[in-house]
């Protein structure tokens, strides 16, 4: 091959490669978009999933702490979520048929979170618009989409350390812990607050769609408990109970065994098994 021919073939090949990639990206743009963002990915899984009775929307506390299937729920939670993102997810989840209940996490990290809902890109090329979907760590999501029916949403984005993975492989021993969450009573007087109003509005929106909303404050380890219990957060939950008019289940002050946690806010496989079972009882009772 002469240098001229070699260059021509390379340039043409490169051009064809780029055009082909752009055409493919356009053909599979919704899938690429889903792969590009954790929230979009979970929503796409939910869209492809068989009808589900409940959705769980929260941060990594819900994502690590709850199995979807035993709760007859789909876990839409994503790490580092925020109130704004939770509301955005709820708006999209409400369109699902067969949905009866929305379980919303209420925790200080969620209330303080700054994550924004994913914004559509205005780049002219699909390859550029959906470029994050091509990142190596995101590509497996593309492979997961055709099998959406097998997932309940809690399989992805866990703080899964090697130890936890091994523990799950070995099977979780029956958990003897008997604690129950507090059903938070309404506050004696109403103090208006932006976050309370936002959560109450979500409950209202759920009611308009014929859904029951349950607010859940997830468990926390000893350090977080010391910060939260009896403080502003507890007051906040009481306000929410009064204003939202829906059940508020508080697990955050429960003294769970230390081996229920893999970090100060994230439940271990053992903790997850217990929290899921306990919440199932509570939700069944509410419904």
């Amino acid at each position: 091959v002469t240098p001229q021919r070699g260059l021509l073939r390379f340039v043409l090949g490169l051009g064809a490669l780029l055009v082909g990639a752009e055409l493919l990206a356009r053909a599979f743009e919704p899938q690429l978009a889903a792969a590009s963002d954790r929230t979009l990915f979970k929503l796409e899984l939910l869209r492809r999933h068989a009808p589900t009775r409940r959705v769980l929307i929260g941060t990594s506390r819900f994502n690590d702490g709850l199995e979807g299937a035993p709760l007859q729920a789909f876990n839409l939670s994503v790490p580092s979520s925020s109130l704004a993102l939770q509301r955005w997810e709820l708006d999209r989840a409400l369109k699902r048929q067969g949905l009866l209940m929305v379980v919303l996490e209420v925790s200080p990290p969620l209330l303080e979170g700054a994550a924004k809902p994913p914004a559509a890109s205005d780049e002219p090329l699909a390859l550029l618009r959906q470029r994050r979907g091509l990142a190596l760590e995101n590509l497996p999501r593309l492979a997961a989409l055709p099998f959406a029916a097998r997932f309940d949403g809690s399989e992805f984005f866990r703080t899964r350390w090697l130890k936890e993975w091994w523990a799950e492989r070995q099977g979780i021993a029956p958990v003897a812990f008997q604690g129950e969450p507090t059903r938070v009573p309404g506050a004696q007087r109403f103090i208006d607050g932006e976050q309370v109003r936002a959560l109450a509005a979500m409950a209202e929106k759920g009611r308009a769609h014929g859904l029951r909303t349950v607010f859940v404050a997830p468990p926390a380890d000893a350090d977080r408990r010391a910060e939260q219990c009896g403080g502003e957060f507890e007051l906040f939950l009481k306000q929410l109970s009064l204003r939202g008019g829906e059940p508020v289940l508080d697990y955050s002050c429960l003294e769970l065994p230390p081996d229920f946690f893999i970090s100060n806010a994230h439940l271990s496989a053992k903790g997850r098994a217990w929290f899921t079972a306990s919440l199932k009882e509570q939700l069944d009772a509410v419904q």
């Binding site: 002469t2 240098p3 001229q4 070699g6 260059l7 073939r9 390379f10 340039v11 090949g13 490169l14 490669l17 780029l18 990639a21 390859l127 550029l128 470029r131 994050r132 979907g133 091509l134 990142a135 190596l136 760590e137 995101n138 703080t159 350390w161």
Partner: protein
Amino acid sequence: MLFNSAPFAALLAATLVAYWSTRVLVVRLAALLVASFTFYAWRHWPSLFLLLATIGFNYVLGRLLESKRSGRLLAFGIAVNLSALGWFKYSAFVAANVQALLSTLGVAVSIPQPPAWLPLGISFFTFQVIAYLVDVYRGELKAERSLLVFAVFKSFFAQLVAGPIVRGRDMLPQLKEVQRFDAAAAHRGLFLLIAGLFLKSAVADVIGQFAQAAFAAPEQQSTLGAWLGLYAFSAQLLADFWGYSTMAIGAGLLFGLRLPKNFDTPYVSRRLQEFWRRWHITLGAWFRDYLYLPLGGNRRRALFNVFFVMAVAGLWHGAGWTFVLWGVLHGLWLVLERLFASKPTESRWRAAVERLLVFHGVALLWVLFNAKTLEIALRYYGRLLLPPWDFGGPVPEVLAIGLLGFALLHRGLDRLMEDGRFAAMPLKAQLLLCAGMLLLLLGYGGAKLDFIYFVF
């Protein structure tokens, strides 16, 4: 204008069309000059006047030096060029230190605030033109007669702001010749552009985010986190600067111009001296030819010369005590190496250990290079080397894959960049490699950070 931006791609394409659509040398050079000035003025147009002034001044001085070989004239020329560099790059540093010294002595003086703007690439084009003046003075190079050729030599956009530092004797003859389109060179140039962009956007910018986070809050790092941050910065710095140089060489080849190689897998060096023959090669050669050898080289005061050159190299990299200390420590290391190091042996084990030691020594000194202040550097060293040692905690997947991938593959990529290597591969392999790099570029290359060496 950044190499990793759409305006640069448009400028490069337009200049290539203008350049190759004519065989008239003046028109070609004019196209290169317009492109170079556009490139330089894009970020901060007033800097263009500085560039124009140095072109005019050094062009005239070169002609004068040729007709009258005067040491004083050369000294004057070097002084004027270094004054511009000193004013823009070092005046704030000097002023701050003088002020601090005076206030320590109880003298209350308010020193006027020097300029906040550092013209891009001033360290590079100053060194390039000093080399030109010295070569003309020594009679090793004829002063350039054509102002247009000289202006393009002084401002060629591919290497203007971060090197490679080209020599007049290599570059001027190429510019004065009507280049014929060389398909093999263009083929390699295209690959180098893609590879350089990949190194910058898909490696340096991605890994660099972890380094940035680690250096922003050293005290919050575990021992493992601090070491990962250091490895990340070491990889980022190499990928960033190597990526820029690679793109510069690639862009040059598209115009039929050959720029010198600037990196040769420096992290596999077995001696620090070898490291400096592989890292920023054109700067090392500049210091050797225009400072080390004039000081006496190996013939007299060799150890002092090595030490002094490295201290100056430290200061060249930045106006700050961290850079000075970085250079001084490199100088000390080189001196000790000359005094005590035995000759490298053939033993593979020993070679591996030496490489590991030299890499970690260089990496540890990068802390000074990256830390904004000595205090931050000391805090970072504390987390690296002092208790409490904590090697637990998660390792981000992207960082682990990025570091491992870069460590394992960068030598192979370097070999592929050699003349003719890439084009000799089957077309399918060429496209597969480019597809892989483009995939990573698209997936990760959104940060569009400045090249680190732009500010030197």
